[in-house]
Symmetry: C3
Subunit: 122 residues, 3 copies
């Protein structure tokens, strides 16, 4: 399964919100955000919507750019959710996030997801 997650934290269609501010400006340690992000089939945000990722991000690194990403993913046409919970050092080119459980069609899933950042747009 492959999808593109759009974390829109600015603009009029924001899908994430900072609920606790960072304690430093370098690594943003201390910041907490809540997300309800769109997942699309291809990279452009206006490509086919295939699901949503709901959860939160905790900026928890004093030395690098990284957050603990805890979210459930629901996909169009599939019943249930996949539960992601793991560290995402988001400036590295490729990362792994742990999958810790699931419901519906995804009951008892365990494993990991590979992620990379495609880019950021205003």
């Amino acid at each position: 399964i492959r999808f593109y997650l759009h974390d829109q934290f600015t603009g009029s269609n924001r899908t994430s919100a900072v609920v606790l501010p960072p304690l430093n400006n370098e690594t943003l340690f201390g910041q907490v955000a809540i997300i309800d992000d769109k997942l699309t089939k291809e990279s452009p945000i206006n490509s086919k919507l295939v699901g949503r990722a709901k959860g939160f991000l905790v900026l928890d690194s004093l030395s690098s750019s990284s957050f603990l990403q805890s979210m459930t993913v629901e996909l169009e046409g599939r019943k249930g959710t996949i539960v992601f919970h793991g560290q995402n050092p988001f400036t590295e080119s490729q990362r792994e996030i742990a999958i810790v459980g699931g419901t519906g069609e995804f009951r008892n899933v365990q494993g990991y997801a590979l992620t990379s950042s495609v880019g950021s747009e205003p």
Copy 2:
């Protein structure tokens, strides 16, 4: 295992507290609550206490009523905890929450729990 969870967020015996306020009034997106809720054997809150559920709820949906529910459950007479972590669209009649781990007697558990809402009382 079946139990009834009582989330008392008002009154003098509150077992949960909102620690971050919602960012909208429709879905309460952005709200975070911490819970130490009673679990009882039957539906009435004054029925036999069988355990506690401790953890937190993150309201993470822009379009519906849902929270990411992360909690550990301890049961009277049993050693250890069951770790729940998953999305709970709490207005649906029946939901599943992922079980992602456990300790003591519940070491290495994985699976899911079926939940439904019985009602709310003042």
Copy 3:
């Protein structure tokens, strides 16, 4: 695998920060802290650094001293992370925390960790 975690919440080299204050002074229910703690090979903090533990703590007990501890552990010389997520009644002499997943060398791990408190230093 054995290591010592140093949660330095005071002083000039703090590795954890309270981001939400407690709602009571007895059990600190309601408090949330974010951590990027040092892991060392032996008990003294100046012993060999073997890794970091990043994540957060949610004080979620009305009746005792306990927090939900959610963190990823990275170890020197090992690729990947171990994801811990469970209740830590930190005043008990020995506790178990659930391990719910992992990445890299620790892909698909599940289990538990035994923890105990060695002491606190200023």
